[in-house]
């Protein structure tokens, strides 16, 4: 990993922690942005962590670009000596895999897909070496995921699978993007899963849908009254497969203001994870039980 | 004979047919009524219908299919 700094015009500094995606790169990016936030640097306007890089927007009339750069380099120096523990939360996200709505949508855009004869999840299962879709769903919902970035559009989480790289699911994006994706679709592109926060264009493969809203600008959803965006970078997610009846019940509960997402506080240690991936994941998942 | 020009209200790209594989809305010599669609303007990922604001016969199209246009540019000339 070699950190690279580059100015994005006169108001941004872009910091690439690593060219390739890894949990280590994400962790370093997150700890550096946390350090920038807690330093409360005058002139800093936006602190945006992403997968293996991050970005700071600043007012160069208040802090010059050269000063901004040297402050970040100091923070990088300190970040390399800190322990790799993160106090965060684990969230269970119910997913209705192979639902009728994403199915209807993917059938409409078949000519934009690599393999028009099968569905997105059948294709993803096959190219990742799973004989049956059920086995693929077990893999997608079996391990926890790190929210490594929130963005693209309002409230959309990118999630990185917490498994050994050899087991990581990888899927190409559509050959050309769709003009439509149902709201709350569980998508997949490259090595990232996502949840579409709003309806709109998209190029990720579609596996299913969650009944649980994650963005509500009107703040009517009970658990989004304090803030309209559900996810934060650093959240840990566990997908839970559900059937149609459960899906319908949760939708009704959300509409009635009764649904409470399952959320538990956890501390994640990168060092423990690297020593024992399965054991660390199991401890995380146990917290949800 | 009096002439009238249909003016583009928008900048963008002009199309004389609803989609590439369909026939033109109107051809030279066709009669048009007020409100008839004579073309589309593509702007900001949406398409806007251009309606005739007069009744008459199309004397000529002043822009080609897929031609860039300015707001205020004459698109079609009518014989009233």
């Amino acid at each position: 990993m070699k950190t690279r700094y580059s100015f994005g015009g006169d108001e941004h500094i872009f910091v690439e922690v690593d060219e390739q995606m890894s949990l280590e790169a994400f962790f370093k990016s997150l700890s550096m942005t946390n350090a920038v936030r807690s330093s409360a640097i005058t002139g800093v306007i936006e602190i945006c962590p992403s997968n293996a890089s991050f970005q700071i927007k600043f007012n160069p009339d208040v802090i010059t670009p050269a000063e901004m750069l040297s402050v970040l380099e100091e923070i990088e120096e300190k970040a390399s000596h800190t322990d790799h523990n993160l106090d965060t939360r684990i969230i269970e996200i119910p997913v209705y895999y192979q639902d009728p709505w994403t199915h209807e949508t993917l059938m409409r855009f078949r000519e934009r897909h690599q393999d028009p004869k099968v569905t997105d999840i059948e294709y993803a299962a096959r190219i990742n070496g799973y004989d049956r879709v059920e086995g693929f769903i077990d893999a997608h919902s079996g391990s926890p995921w790190f929210v490594s970035m929130v963005g693209f559009v309002a409230g959309l989480p990118f999630m990185y699978q917490m498994v050994d790289r050899s087991k990581q699911i990888q899927v190409p994006k559509y050959l050309s993007p769709r003009t439509d994706t149902p709201k709350l679709t569980i998508g997949y592109g490259g090595c990232f899963s996502c949840i579409y926060s709003v309806r709109g264009a998209g190029g990720y493969q579609m596996f299913g849908i969650t009944p649980m809203p994650i963005y509500d600008p009107n703040q009517e959803v009970s658990y989004l009254k304090d803030f309209m965006v559900f996810f934060n970078p650093g959240d840990i997610v566990k997908f839970k497969p559900i059937d149609r009846a459960t899906y319908d019940r949760i939708v009704a509960d959300v509409n009635a203001g009764l649904y409470e997402p399952k959320i538990r506080p956890v501390t994640f240690s990168l060092d423990d994870f690297q020593k024992d991936i399965d054991g660390t994941n199991q401890k995380l998942l146990d917290v949800l039980q | 004979m009096a002439r009238h020009q249909i003016i583009s209200p928008l900048p963008g790209t002009f199309y004389n047919k609803p989609s590439p594989d369909q026939p033109s809305y109107k051809s030279e010599g066709d009669t048009v009524q007020v409100g008839d669609i004579v073309g589309l303007i593509e702007i900001m990922k949406t398409f806007h219908e251009v309606q005739s604001d007069a009744a008459g016969t199309i004397a000529s199209f002043l822009v080609d299919n897929e031609e860039p246009i300015q707001a205020g540019q004459p698109l079609v000339e009518l014989k009233l």
Partner: protein
């Protein structure tokens, strides 16, 4: 104290100076694309510079007033009319209760800013009245205006009067060809030296799909990439990177063919490499570009960007002084 929309125009939205602070959650700053013109419109009617105004793109709305008001229109040349009587742009004028404000066909520029004394009084959302349409947030019900929408007005200041004018030398508009100054960087190293030179040598045209999220350009030569094995997680196309943050003004070139300059409603990140960033001083100019406008990208240094920034601030100071 309201105005009623009798014709919405193409896409007319409530905008102010935007909502910084939420880009890390994918919520962009939004606000007027041409902030210089937005500030000028507010100053002409005695508002705070950042009061909420209407931004009308390519085609003006028609608005029926239920109260007497002072109005100013800046930005694009789209002549305002009060009950069909022409008024000047960049000059405040009175509209009486019962009169209708409408607009002639666009002559030049792209976005007109319609400031009304007292400002547009929609609810604040995350500290701003700006509309972010993609997220359904802010403005009037999170969307562009439609027929029969009614907008409340704030209390006009004592300084609001008609006949205040901003001289042409204190306005800004893009030239022909438009010139956008860009600081190379970010993933500039991904393209070959020849492609980097071509990018600045070529004349590009604004694509008709350009909007508040981003301005797309076409017509220049396709970029060639430096060979590499794609990093893990980046995707297979040479223009792909591991999804990262996008600066405002950053220039991404998906597939190496058509540059897109992200603007006020930017997507906050994604998987396309970026060549560099259009400097803050020139972001306003992009908001006034019509489709098919010839555009050149001009290479600048960081020092050049800071100098241009001060130049723009000085012009704004001159404009303020001229109205005192």
């Amino acid at each position: 104290m309201t105005i009623r929309v009798t014709q919405p125009g193409l896409s007319t939205t409530v905008q102010d100076l935007g909502r910084p602070g939420y880009f890390h959650l994918g919520i962009p700053i939004s606000g007027g694309m041409d902030r210089f013109a937005l500030r000028a419109a507010n100053l002409l009617v005695g508002n705070d510079e950042g009061a909420a105004v209407l931004e009308a793109v390519f085609m003006g709305p028609a608005l029926e007033f239920t109260v007497d008001a002072i109005v100013a229109v800046t930005g694009a040349e789209m002549t305002p009319k009060v009950d069909d009587q022409l008024r000047e742009t960049w000059t405040s004028f009175a509209v009486k209760a019962g009169q209708i404000l409408s607009f002639e066909i666009l002559k030049s520029g792209a976005r007109a800013y319609i400031a009304i004394a007292g400002g547009i009084d929609v609810p604040m959302a995350l500290g701003s009245r700006s509309t972010y349409s993609l997220g359904g947030l802010g403005g009037h019900e999170g969307r562009a205006l439609v027929v029969d929408d009614e907008l409340s007005l704030g209390q006009a200041g004592l300084g609001a009067k008609s006949g205040i004018h901003i001289a042409p030398k204190l306005r800004r508009s893009p030239g022909n060809p438009a010139e956008l100054r860009m600081l190379p960087g970010l993933y500039w190293h991904r393209v070959t030296d020849v492609s980097g030179r071509n990018f600045f040598d070529d004349t590009w045209q604004v694509a008709p799909e350009a909007d508040r999220i981003g301005y797309r350009f076409r017509g220049g030569r396709k970029l060639e990439f430096v060979d590499r094995e794609q990093p893990f997680g980046a995707g297979s196309d040479p223009s792909n990177i591991v999804d990262g943050c996008y600066p405002y003004g950053s220039v991404q070139v998906p597939g190496g063919t058509e540059p897109i300059v992200l603007h006020r409603d930017a997507v906050s990140g994604g998987g396309y490499f970026m060549l560099g960033t259009v400097i803050s001083a020139d972001m306003d100019l992009i908001g006034q570009l019509q489709p098919h406008t010839a555009t050149r990208f001009i290479e600048v240094t960081l020092e050049g960007a800071m100098k241009a920034r001060r130049g723009r601030q000085n012009l704004l100071d001159e404009l303020r002084a001229s109205l005192d």
